[in-house]
Amino acid sequence: MTTKLVIGMDGEGSGDRALNFATDLANRIGDCELLVAYVIEWSPYSFQTAEENAQRHKRREEEISTAMERVVEPAVEALKKNGMKASGIVKHGDVAHTLNSICEQAGGHQIIVCRSSEGGLTKRIFGSSTANLVMSATVPVTVIG
């Protein structure tokens, strides 16, 4: 049976550590598929101007394409070079909730993420995305320090 691992990227250098860990783990497991996921933080309850709304679809496509080009595709290429079966996905939403949904939909067995880069007031009020993921995920989560 193929083991599916979901790697949550944050678009920063720390994502590479998650990638390296996942590669190492996949090599140990053997039959493994890797799914590189990048979630663009977004809330359907935020406030926007009429002009922003009119351009939202265009912006969304641009955001997805930029994230794919800069974060996901290089990661997938790197994994493939190392002989891994890998694919990528970009979605909008709450990071913790969406990563878990991606994993569930892909039939993933584990989520690998790096320690959250958030800080300050946001972290104090809402908790970090990583902490929220650990608390709410329906599959095992590995957090790389």
């Binding site: 663009i40 977004w42 359907p44 309850y45 935020s46 406030f47 926007q48 101007t49 009429a50 002009e51 922003e52 709304n53 009119a54 351009q55 939202r56 679809h57 265009k58 969304r60 496509e61 955001e63 997805i64 979605k91 909008h92 939403g93 969406t98 949904s101």
Partner: protein, 514 residues
């Protein structure tokens, strides 16, 4: 106009001679006011012409009849689909794969930021100040009926919007009028769409701009003392210019985030005042009901109360006007009618909840003077006499201040932010109409944006009467064209409603598990 700009620039340049130009500025305000009233007078008279042999403006009847017809035609859609509308806003029916697109909540919030504002604060005060508490009853009724008008226009707004190859969208009455009429083989769609666009530009410059600037100045002057209105106008114009021309989105972003909190604060403060004065709430509702049918001494009796209630409700929630259809058309949905359901919450929140709060606070504050012997309201000219002679936003401010001493300061900030937010929204509505008429393009857009900013200065400098009259006339003129078109296109909405209802009942349309 040339004279105005030259005079303003001269006044700013010679700031060292403050007393001399202050005197000149007062004269300037009066001149602006006089010229403005002269130009807009005939247009205002036409829109507010009374029905023959009565004092009842035909336009008010036009709006109420339309809202009543839509309510009956769609079998009280505002009641039957109220729960479903709430579910849609909550995102129960939102496809998770559409995350990142404009949600129903965002489209509603954006439309509300264009409607909730001075109409709820100053407009209600004008209605209650002239029509008495009884105007509130008619305002609520107009709000409830207006939900059906909003449903009709916003469904069409999404259905017939333009989606461009780059992913941007443009929608609104001008698009559904031209496309809908063509689809149904009806003549005159192009001409009506052009007429609507012209009135929408006037509405954007009037109610969406000058009225906002005017009342924001009145509020600030009430706090810091009287000073020439054009100064407020110039400051507002500079900030709006920075956002809509300079593209400084951070200002708009901050406003869009702060305005909802100011709205919640406003309603919260009104609730606190009502709770503290709970013993007067029953009396206040008694005044509202009695005033609705007897007038309680206001000018024009109960008809006066009715006219004021309907007028202010229409100006506040814009149901039937067509502006909301422009804002709502950006939502991402495969079912245009879902945005119609969501939009019907707008008049409910705007008029039935927020306007009623304002009216209740004014009524129980004791700012409106009552003759102790007769129990009727005392008149000062055609308006009800108030404790300090206040009217408009100053009356609302005094009413809140009577219970919460520091609230006028918060209200001043709220008014400025509401005014700013409404201006940004209406600059977009006006721009869409402008580009519909003159085509997309940087030069065309810049021309409108500069005109919009100039009108901010004029609005702040002119006195309340001519500005309110012109604001009303321009907004209602939009409704004349829009509602005419809605009568021809409402069968399309009914077909959408029938199809959607069947699929909802059969379970074909399901909630998504989130």
């Amino acid at each position: 106009m040339k004279f105005l700009n030259k005079a303003l620039l001269t006044a700013v340049a010679t700031s060292s001679a403050l007393p001399a130009y202050a005197q000149e500025a007062m004269t300037l305000d009066e001149k602006v006011n006089s010229i403005f009233a002269q130009f807009t007078g005939p247009f205002v008279s036409l829109i507010f012409a009374p029905l023959p042999g009565t004092s009842f403006p035909w336009i008010v009847l036009w709006l109420v009849v339309a809202a009543s017809i839509f309510t009956i035609y769609f079998s009280f859609v505002q009641l039957r689909f109220f729960g479903h509308a709430v579910s849609l806003v909550k995102g129960d029916y939102a496809d998770p794969d559409d995350a990142g697109e404009v949600s129903h909540f965002q489209a509603l919030a954006t439309a509300l930021s264009g409607t909730v504002g001075l109409g709820n604060i100053a407009g209600v005060a004008v209605a209650v100040g002239i029509g008495g508490p009884g105007a509130t009853f008619w305002m609520i009724l107009a709000g409830l009926l207006g939900m059906a008008s909003k449903f009709t226009e916003c469904t069409l707004g999404v259905k017939y919007r333009n989606e461009y190859p780059d992913g941007t969208v443009s929608g609104g009455p001008m698009y559904y009028i031209s496309k809908g009429f063509k689809e149904r083989g009806l003549p005159g769609g192009g001409a009506l769409a052009i007429l609507f666009s012209v009135f929408c530009i006037l509405g954007a410059l009037g109610g969406g701009n000058m009225f906002q600037a005017n009342q924001a100045h009145a509020q600030i002057a009430g706090i810091v003392g009287d000073y020439p209105g054009w100064i407020t106008g110039l400051v507002f114009a500079a900030v709006v210019f920075a956002v809509i021309v300079g593209g400084i989105k951070s200002i708009a972003n901050v406003t869009e985030k702060v305005v909802p909190f100011m709205g919640i604060l406003y309603v919260g403060a009104a609730l606190v005042i009502l709770v503290v004065n709970y013993d007067k709430i029953g009396w206040a509702f008694g005044q509202i009901f009695a005033g609705a049918f007897t007038g309680l001494g206001v000018a024009g009796g109960f008809v006066g109360a009715l006219i004021q209630g309907f007028k202010r409700a229409a100006f506040s929630n814009e149901a039937g006007v067509g502006s909301a259809a422009i804002a709502h058309s950006a939502v991402r949905t495969k079912e245009p009618i879902t945005e119609g359901f969501v939009s019907l919450l707008e008049p409910l929140i705007d008029t039935v909840v927020i306007c009623t709060m304002t009216a209740l606070v004014i009524t129980i504050s004791g700012q409106l003077l009552i003759d102790a012997d007769t129990g009727l309201y005392m008149l000062d000219g055609s308006a009800i006499a108030t404790v300090d002679g206040n009217s408009g936003v100053a009356l609302t401010s005094a009413a809140f201040g009577a219970s919460i001493g520091w609230f006028p300061y918060v209200l001043a900030i709220a008014v400025v932010l509401f005014a700013f937010s409404t201006m940004i929204s209406w600059s977009y509505y006006g721009l869409k109409s402008w580009t519909y008429l003159f085509g997309e393009g940087k030069a065309s857009e810049l021309t409108f944006k500069i005109i919009f900013c100039i009108f901010i200065v004029i609005g702040a400098a002119a006195s309340l009467g001519p500005v309110i009259d012109f604001s009303d006339a321009a907004i209602f003129a939009m409704a004349v064209v829009n509602i005419t078109a809605l009568y021809f296109l409402m069968s399309i909405v009914r077909e959408e409603l029938r199809s959607y209802s069947e699929r909802l009942r059969s379970g074909e349309i399901k909630k998504f598990a989130h």
